[in-house]
Amino acid sequence: MTSTPASGRALIPALLLLLALAFWLALALGPLSLPLGDSLRALLRLAGLPLEGGDLAQAELIIGQIRLPRALLALVVGAVLALCGVAMQGLFRNPLADPGLVGVSSGAALGAALAIVGGALLGGPPAWLVPWLLSACAFAGGLGVTALVYRLGRRDGQTSVATMLLAGIALSALAGAGIGLFSYLADDATLRTLTFWNLGSLNGASYARLWPLLLVGCGVALWLPRRATALNALLLGESEARHLGFEVERLKRELVLCTALGVGAAVAAAGMIGFVGLVVPHLVRLLTGPDHRRLLPAAALAGASLLLLADLAARLLLAPAELPIGTLTALLGAPFFLYLLLRERF
């Protein structure tokens, strides 16, 4: 699992190139495919560059209104989920940990179900409020459940990771029961919304959904790399990290908060997209080794690229219909998880 310095140095530029390519394809391809050159020129014009060419109006409209916010959303969601996956695997010192483990995903899902079904039962909030309400509830649900898991895992001023993990499983099950109840109460139309949202989808991306996520995403992406060496030390063990001079309790608190914010915001914007936080850190670790100073930026780039490509596949495979992207990532991720489990055993 060692990598030569040369291939290590080339990895970040290679991932940047992959991301640029995936982004470009996401803008150009769709039910109405645009020539690659046109989509690039339209993007540059949207960015304010005075390029000539009167035939770009349609491309500009499609890209500016539909594909650009969607691509940006995919990019940020992918990067945030991958970064939070790295943080969770570092916190639990286990490469099989996933942001879903601390309950943040199911908490967010419960919040969203409350917003969707509760809103419908109360006669429906005004249309402009719906995405905001959904986001806020999902976000609050994720943060709430994570805080509860964290409190349950804490005893005598110490946080027990094993207890947190088990509490996360229990609260996830409880949140699942709550979602089931809301599904039972829902009428057919709300049930459909709920189902699609639970499967995860970037459909209906808008700038309004993008901004809060972008804010949280930037925070996570700027803050986590500052804790890269502390995360490395944490992999040795909690007391070892403490003996190396790190404030482990504070670090763990920060990691939990960071994941709750990041995953909560991602789930609020795009629904439950599973396994990105598990698979991406794993694959990247195979290339970079476990050193977080290189793992974190590489995982962010790889996660963004993966979700852009997965969304592209979700849009194109059954066009003009769309696969929920959560189904696609689970379809790829679950067998990969099993493979990891079996590889550990034999």
């Binding site: 030390a233 001079g245 670790r285």
Partner: protein, 255 residues
């Protein structure tokens, strides 16, 4: 200099360590002996600040352990735990380099120290390999190199706490590792080491503490502590104590 005053540690309602008074002097190797469950690791935990004392206090340089800023403390006090749970494929030199994290001594200088620490722990040939591919004894030596790198080159005022550093090592490395520890003490580091092998303790320690059920049973030089009566009382073991024919320290033989 590390000092414990009237130290007591509780786990739940059970007192697992009580009335411990000891001072680790610069330059000495202080051995801790006792049967399983006597409180050796608890003592090490309390001395390293990992366990909070129910009573009494632990002072590093006259200042309460908890009052030290983490980084400064890490430059003065290093701890080798009994076993490590590292489950990620770091390369050996990356693991050892983590010992340099509390210091800000520059990448090049750190690289030299890592190489020297690896050589001291007789683990130079492991450099470049994945930690996960190593055997238990090799891992133990890599962690020892990490701890050595943390205190390198060793000076008065520093403290090293070792929890059974030789438990997984072959006979040659049991001696070579304890010789490295001895050399570190010669540079002024105060060393506390938990051992199970009475003869290793007799050979390498300046002072010995015999623990029984969380209390001091005997504390003194190897000649004072390694006698038939205390060993029978604490371990329930009948022994002959003779002199090492070349070195003169006690030699313990089970009857």
């Amino acid at each position: 200099m590390l000092r414990a005053e009237q130290l007591a540690v509780r786990r739940g309602s059970c007192t697992v360590l009580a009335d411990i008074d000891l001072t680790l002097q610069p330059g000495e190797v202080f051995g801790v002996l006792g049967p399983n469950g006597a409180g050796k690791s608890t003592l090490l935990g309390a001395l390293s600040g990992e366990l909070l004392p129910a009573h009494g206090r632990v002072l590093l340089d006259g200042r309460d352990l908890a009052a030290w800023p983490g980084r400064e403390r890490a430059c003065r006090l290093a701890v080798l735990p009994q076993s490590s749970t590292l489950g990620f494929a770091f390369r050996v030199e990356q693991v050892v380099a983590m010992g340099r994290l509390p210091h800000a001594s520059g990448q090049q200088h750190d690289g030299e120290i890592v190489a020297e620490a690896l050589a001291a722990a007789d683990a130079s040939h492991l450099a470049g390999r994945s930690y996960l591919a190593l055997s238990g004894g090799e891992r133990q030596r890599v962690h020892l190199a990490r701890i050595l790198a943390q205190l390198w080159p060793g000076a008065a005022g520093q403290v090293l706490l070792l929890d059974e550093p030789t438990s997984m090592l072959d006979p040659l490395h049991q001696h070579s590792i304890l010789q490295v520890v001895e050399a570190l003490a010669a540079r002024g580091v105060a060393v506390l080491v938990i051992l199970h092998d009475l003869n290793l303790a007799a050979r390498y320690c300046d002072r010995l503490l015999l623990l029984q059920r969380g209390r001091v049973h005997a504390l003194g030089s190897p000649e004072q502590v390694l006698q038939c009566a205390p060993l029978r009382a604490v371990f329930g073991l009948e022994v002959l104590v003779q002199r090492h024919p070349e070195r003169g320290h006690p030699l313990i033989i089970a009857r």
